[in-house]
Amino acid sequence: MADLTTTVAGVRWRNPLWLASGIWGESGESLRGAYEAGAGAVITKSIGSGPRPGYPNPTVEPLGPVGMLNALGLPNPGIEEYPREIEKAVSAGVPVIGSIFGGSANEFTALARAMSRTGVRAIELNLSCPHAEGFGTEVGSDPHLVERIVRRVRAATTLPVIAKLTPNTSDPGALARAAERGGANAVSAINTVRGLAIEPELRRPVLAHGIGGLSGPAIKPVGLACVWQIYEAIDLPIVGIGGISTATDVVEYLLAGASAVEIGTAVAQDGIEVFGTVAKALSDWMDRHGVGELAELIGAAHPGRRAKRGSPRRTRSVASHRRRRVSVVRGRSPPAML
């Protein structure tokens, strides 16, 4: 039987399949239910300073095999109320990761402090909120802000800090380096991809908020590319997210460089049983392929890593990696353009 445990941010987790933030994340019973269904860890809904009802409906638009769009608007009961829900899960022994969001480094810091007192094992920073000081873009698309927020939070808590990065950027590696500089213990990627649906008959966006976030199968390639680029850019463990619903999806993320993954939208399609099913299928896959532990897979699709298979984490510089990848994968000199 393959060993599914994984170490991320200094913590050992029973398996690498985590419940993504925003899914089954409002009630303590649900968090517990997801863990009982087989998740390796459960991440709370992103919690802010006060209660927020979120946007009016429609907040979700199913897009069939492509996935779905949502703009829930970060509904949450607020950091004062929510610890009651966490308590229900934590008291049952569930490893909970607390997700927080804010509009400034100060807000994140205060939230992290409060969250640290709830019994969670780690804190995930949801950096995908509009930048209060900027113009429409997300807090998390500005490397300076990312670094600042992570550094402040890092100083405010003794818990491991996971920075959750956005795919809506030209350079995921730069954001990851910012998080690493700020002192993050791990990064997770990706949050949803900016998207829109319009109802032609009604001549208006479907979601009440207009622009929303795309998740599900459509974004699996996007998440994989981000994880790949982040793995080439930093040395922290990576939690891969986006469009995961099967064991081979998980293996792809592991090979791209993830040490664990989060599953969100697949819960809509396959129910919470997806955790148990995928855990079993992953273990079977590993047995069938003679893989004893996850470390053999993590990052193994990177040419540098392929060359020294078995080592838990490469230490060579990014640049030497890049060179090596090109020559190993392509076997000829690299063309200059995409």
């Binding site: 009630s27 009802p53 429609p58 638009e61 199913p62 829930l72 109802e199 008959e201 009604l202």
Partner: protein, 276 residues
Amino acid sequence: MRSVVPVDERVAETPSTATLRFDYPPTAEPGQFVMVWLPGDDELPMSLSYVEGPQKGITVKAMGESSARLVRLRPPDRLGVRGPYGRGFDLSPRRILVVGGGSGAAVLAPAAEAAARAGALVDVALGATTREELLFYERFRAMGARLFPATDDGSFGYRGYVSDVARERLGSESYQAVWTCGPELMMRKVLEEAERRSVASFGSVERVMKCALGMCDACALGPFHVCRDGPVLPGRRLLDLEEFGRAFRNASGRLTPFEVRRAPSGRTGRDRGPGR
């Protein structure tokens, strides 16, 4: 994955309630619901009050702003529809007591109709504030059900709670199943009585809904997600839940007690919180 359909027909059912019929071919079962988008306004969960054939129907009671706008729609106003979602009633019992309060009859009528057509004997305890608010009285009659009406003001049938009528019925005859939908306090009483007498009982419950896909957790009720595991849930399970009949999660996810308003007349008001 969402259809925009014109309202084909509107039937005023009671002063506060109207049925809207529209073409929506996906197959559905009695007890399932759809998410109904009133463009430019909210999207609300609505049980299908007509489930058979391509023309479906919903029966809406004006509660807040959005449901009131919905009730006022007229052909050919348009609606967005997605679904059906959730699980409906087990239609196999042959002797059924249906207990409906307010707009609860909307989801019970098509289920009772299907059961009756399959040969079940159906008794219906139907409650409302006043005579003209009794929903689907004629429809239940037309399917051959025996009716036991109750009104808060005594303008028709028993004067008082429909749960009292239900208790009386359960004492007088032996039923294989009790189905109920209405204010949660009413449902709790009915389900308790049924369970006490070991009659299988099912309630159709409401919670705030956003995704209707079993992921966002808005509709969490104990270990259940009403949009996926419900809306029809076994009374036995519901009665185990401390929240049931007492509290719901509001739009921010905060557990919030139902407020029970008492009208000046002394009649029981409706729960604040998810509809009905």
